[in-house]
Symmetry: C2
Subunit: 321 residues, 2 copies
């Protein structure tokens, strides 16, 4: 078995070797730009580790891994347009650097590049790979749509929120692992179980993000602690609080909208503490983590092969940034 860092390195080496076209320059340059902004290459590494888990040849899964990473970076380009984001990993976003129209089109052709990579998998698994990939891509688009719609909706339920992060974030984690399983010729049951592992891990990961945004150590978090509170983002924490607030505290909550941001973060965090929202979020996170481990348990391969995935899950859940 490979370790995750070994697989991340394999990906890191393979990315500069992808043979993107070069003309027109402005169409293709953004692809190399965003692909080389960094990132942990965790999604493509999950494709490969899943192939490895089921005893497949990880090199045969490389086209699917690169397709997942290319697709993911394509969604970053388009999401940044929609979010009007100036920066991505500390660098100018593609639409800031090349203009919005160029960024739309570079994103489009990047999706085509992802499909070109995908088409290189073995013919014997091609149809299954396409079906899994297309279902994943579709889910990610649906998640982004829901995320945008939630910004202007005041009646978002917690169930809807979980479903949104499932689609926007977790489906891609699950889909990556399913692709790896298919390339390894795993059974359909196994492919679905590793999908379930990945999807639930993805949901747990996002819930932990929500928690870290409020309770992270400012020295280690990397982003501004309280960022979600300042931008009124409807996270699991905010939605849970709103559901529980008494009429009195409702007023305390609403009053924060006119406060300066530091006071706002402090006061909303106090409300979170009083209503024990962190515990609620942690329980929900644990629930999905248990679902993930339950699915992994049901996969019929030697326990030793699962070690790396169990470690990864525990690492992700104990991270501070």
């Amino acid at each position: 078995m490979y370790t995750i860092p070994e697989l991340q390195q394999l990906i890191e080496k393979a990315i500069p070797e992808i043979d993107y076209p070069t003309h027109p320059n402005n169409l293709y340059e953004p692809i190399s730009y965003i692909m080389n902004l960094g990132g942990k290459r965790l999604r493509p590494a999950l494709v490969l580790i899943s192939t490895d888990l089921f005893g497949g040849d990880v090199l045969k899964a490389m086209p699917a891994a690169l397709a997942i990473e290319t697709f993911h970076n394509f969604t970053l380009i388009h999401d940044d347009i929609m979010d009007n984001a100036p920066l991505r990993r500390g660098k100018q976003t593609v639409h800031e650097k090349w203009g919005t129209n160029n960024a739309i089109l570079s994103g489009d052709v990047m999706m085509v590049e992802a499909n070109k990579q995908l088409a290189q998998v073995d013919s014997s698994v091609l149809k299954s790979v396409l079906n899994a990939f297309n279902a994943t891509a579709q889910g990610v688009c649906e998640g982004q749509q829901l995320d945008m719609e939630f910004e202007t909706r005041e009646d978002v339920s917690i169930a809807e929120y979980i479903d949104m992060i499932r689609l926007k974030t977790a489906v891609l984690v699950g889909g990556a692992m399913k692709l790896g399983a298919i390339v390894a010729n795993a059974s359909e049951i196994h492919a679905d179980l590793i999908y379930e592992f990945g999807e639930n891990l993805g949901i747990a990961f996002q819930l932990q993000d929500d928690i870290l945004d409020v309770y992270g150590d400012p020295e280690k978090f990397g982003k501004q602690v309280g960022g979600d509170i300042i931008s009124n983002k409807k996270t699991f924490l905010l939605l849970s609080l709103k559901q529980l607030l008494t009429a009195n505290d409702q007023q305390r909550f609403t009053a924060q909208d006119h406060n300066d941001t530091e006071v706002k973060v402090k006061n909303i965090t106090s409300l979170y503490n009083e209503y024990e929202i962190k515990q609620l979020a942690t329980e929900e996170m644990q629930l999905h983590l248990e679902k993930a481990f339950d699915a992994l348990n049901r996969i019929d391969v030697p326990a030793e092969r699962k070690k790396e995935l169990i470690e990864l899950a525990n690492e992700l859940m104990n991270r501070e940034s």
Copy 2:
């Protein structure tokens, strides 16, 4: 053999039966909206007629035909954003009706839908179909990029212009026909020849569009005659004229930029007439039409099977709108 109108009807019947998801509503509604704005369904009909030409089962080519039509309509959504177009076929564009962010995302998921349709072709031809489709999609993106870049470039050559319309328009016509050939298990040589037919027909078609925009009958043309002149669009006609203008006429030409539009159309058309630009464009169009027919001639199927395509080409070239 089917006739083109019969195949267009088959497509027209199949489109409402495509099973697009429905949730989130705002993500998927634009797909049905744009797919049902009308259009001649010529591209998907060309997929089917190409299958028919090579003795294949047209129904087996339906997924590829619908993928081509879905992809084409996806490009319309994104092109309309980039062109800031308020109307498409007399109706509000998707981004006008749903907003730009929604339109970007609906376009993205529509590309996924096209890929889902494509994945339904027979496994035996799937890899070839994907390769042809992805090359086509890539070309269309490149063409749109060049078209945008030409707007602000003053040194566009005629060769570059022909290459741009080849990519933006003709590659999709050729690609559609190649897909149909692949589904019919035609030889690679035949698939390439029918591609060549389609691509050259597409270039000829676009050149005729440039001519009609200036010389069309206002009663029959459907669009405003002189529209390209008013918007300074770098068509084959304009680029040819600029290449030939004497220093004196160069001044007459430049002076038009400040005129009212009716006078501008009249004066530029006069210059076109003096320099016999219509003949030049017609010759270029004929050249590509001949290349198309030459490729068709080299296809080894009974002459009778080619009749419908020859008729179609002649009809397209003698159209008035």
